[in-house]
């Protein structure tokens, strides 16, 4: 079939041409993507300053008059909101993952699997809207808690799925060995299966965290944003709070030149944060595989 009409030389040349095209398109596509990173790194580093890490934003006038201004409150807010999201998402995600892997015959699981994938495939902005209805409306105010809940909705399906596959990777024989020495099932899961799957579990949580940490869409109308540091710490949970992705968006679409510059700085900080999480997840995976 292959030894058809085309001469072998022609086919060789074709092969070379296709190879050339593949390399070319790889280069052509990778270039703009690398340019994005390059711009963010260069502009971002130029815009970073001590004030950026130690001051709060304040009104636009503050930036325009050259008074010290920064995003300290934003970074603290990000930590608080992300942390709340983790606290909410990890138990639910891991619990569902345990359900899927440790009770494989349970009637709930086919439905759970479909619904989890559905939830995972939904745009993040819809998760923000859900959190708005479930948290913001009853509370009557935008809040860090609502932002945390919205980000948790992003994390939960990812954690559930990664937990399931991390636990499934542990041989079934380990569970039987545990049961055979008279351990109850919960003990087997908690003390033999989960410790063995620890790396996979942590990796999954990291991946979910990295995905959620870069999301702005669910935060814009849940944690809302705040130009100032809340007066006390709990204000970050119960009131509007700034977060990096959402602040980056607000800065970028603002009409002030100084805020645009600050936007680049926020960009480099956010990018670094997310990439550290991803690299950590990758390194863990590599460690597990070696």
């Amino acid at each position: 079939m292959i030894q058809g009409t085309k001469s072998i030389n022609r086919r060789r040349i074709n092969d070379r041409i296709m190879f050339g095209l593949l390399v070319l398109s790889t280069v052509v596509v990778m270039t703009p993507l690398l340019i994005i990173i390059g711009y963010v790194v260069i502009n971002g580093f130029n815009a970073l300053s001590i004030d950026f890490f130690t001051q709060e934003l304040g009104s636009p006038a503050r930036a325009m008059q050259g008074r010290p201004t920064g995003l300290m409150h934003t970074m603290l807010g990000t930590i608080v909101v992300d942390f709340m999201a983790l606290i909410i998402a990890v138990p639910i995600g891991i619990g569902a993952g345990i359900m899927l892997s440790e009770y494989p015959d349970h009637k709930l699981n086919p439905v759970l699997r479909i619904m989890n994938d559905t939830l995972n495939g939904m745009p993040a902005i819809l998760k923000g809207m859900l959190a708005f209805v479930l948290v913001v409306k009853p509370m009557g105010t935008f809040s860090g808690l609502a932002g945390g809940v919205a980000l948790a909705f992003v994390m939960i399906p990812i954690v559930a799925r990664t937990t399931e596959s991390a636990l499934m990777a542990i041989p079934w024989a380990i569970r039987e060995a545990g049961l055979a020495i008279g351990l109850p099932r919960w003990r087997v899961v908690l003390s033999t299966v989960m410790p063995a799957a620890k790396t996979g579990l942590v990796t999954g949580v990291l991946i979910a965290f990295a995905r959620a940490a870069g999301e702005a869409a669910p935060l814009v109308f849940t944690s809302f944003g705040n130009n100032y540091m809340p007066r006390n710490w709990t204000g970050m949970i119960w009131g509007p709070v700034d977060t990096l992705p959402q602040r980056l968006y607000s800065l970028a679409i603002s009409p002030y030149k100084e805020w645009h510059t600050m936007g680049w700085a926020a960009g480099i900080v956010l990018l670094t944060f997310v990439i550290i999480l991803f690299v950590a997840a990758r390194l863990l995976t590599r460690k597990k595989n070696s």
Binding site: Q3, M18, M99, M122, V220
Partner: protein, 331 residues
């Protein structure tokens, strides 16, 4: 039982176990895991329910299909809301983004899976993953300050001046060359989904059994012929499912699009000119929506977005299951 030989020490088995170690613990464990799992089901169902309920005011006012067909979006004076411009904007930007992204992404995947020497492949693969990790607001800020102005200066303005001299009829089709608009958003979207398609396509191709390739090589095929005849046909299910999942990503992509599309809520849209998508109108107007009907209309758009995303995901799941190659990989 008395006649059985008593062992020297039976004290271990005679130690009584607490209920939690006998039966209670397992019951609690299952109940807890069950309810945590159930909460995910409730979340997914709740999302549809909540969006529909909150959007019902708007659906009632304009009718479900009337809302989808309506092309006027006027929160200011007439309080008339129709989703058609946003549905149109979403479909056009995401479909074209997929069309632009698909072949380059596939090319990278082929290069990675079939050609690249180990170290180059490793480097590019890590780069692709790195790029996939860039938050969309970060892409957005680059788009706003670098890409859109560049497109305006280097592409839109020359075309615009050319058309105003030579083909004035084209002007309304091309639209205002302000830099922010449908084309800019589509290109950015395409860039953003490339790593996603590449990763899924590469996984699908790596799953192709060695025998498949060896058989083709055995017939004297060149490398490209092997790829075309043995690898791609075998992996096409996974590649297609990946492309459809990428389409789903593009449909739901919010921040970068909202920052670049120019946010014009009414027809007519033009090629370069501003437009809007479902996510972009939600993110732009949700915070400021004061009227009940306005808020409800945004929720209704959310509901339509839910339905479209669901359809796209189910389609991808169907293809994956039918030609099970990449499994349920999370990306």
């Amino acid at each position: 039982m008395d006649n059985k030989n008593q062992k020297a020490s039976r004290n271990i088995s005679s130690i009584p176990l607490k209920a939690i170690y006998r039966w209670l613990g397992d019951r609690i464990f299952l109940v807890v895991a069950f309810f945590l799992g159930l909460s995910i089901i409730l979340l997914a169902l709740g999302m549809a329910l909540v969006l529909y309920q909150e959007g019902s005011l708007s659906f009632k006012e304009f009718g479900f299909f009337g809302f989808m067909r309506g092309s006027t979006w006027d929160p200011g004076v007439t309080l008339t809301f129709g989703a058609l411009p946003f549905i149109f904007g979403t479909v056009v930007t995401s479909v074209f983004a997929l069309a632009i992204a698909f072949f380059p992404a596939l090319a990278i995947a082929i290069f990675l899976a079939e050609y690249a020497p180990r170290w180059i492949g490793g480097v590019i693969e890590n780069l692709v993953n790195l790029i996939a990790a860039i938050p969309s607001v970060v892409v957005g800020i680059w788009g706003i300050f670098v890409f859109a102005p560049w497109m305006r200066e280097k592409v839109y303005m020359p075309l615009w001046s050319w058309s105003s001299e030579n083909a004035p009829a084209l002007e309304p089709i091309l639209g205002n060359p302000i830099g922010y608009g449908m084309t800019t958003a589509t290109i950015i979207l395409a860039l953003m989904i490339i790593p996603f398609i590449t990763a899924l396509a590469k996984d699908a191709m790596r799953q192709v059994p060695k025998e498949q390739r060896e058989a083709a090589y055995g017939l004297g095929a060149t490398r490209w012929e092997v790829i075309r005849m043995a690898v791609i046909p075998y992996a096409r299910g996974g590649i297609m499912a990946g492309a459809i999942l990428a389409l789903g990503r593009a449909i739901g992509e919010t921040m970068a699009v909202a920052m670049l599309i120019g946010n014009k809520n009414t027809f007519p849209f033009s090629i370069f000119g501003p437009a809007a998508t479902m996510p972009s109108v939600i993110i732009n107007e949700f915070r400021e929506a004061v009227g009940n009907l306005h808020l409800s209309s945004l929720m209704a758009i959310g509901f339509i977005l839910f339905i479209i995303s669901l359809a796209v995901n189910l389609l991808a799941a169907y293809i994956t299951r039918k030609i099970s190659i990449t499994g349920g990989k999370i990306l």
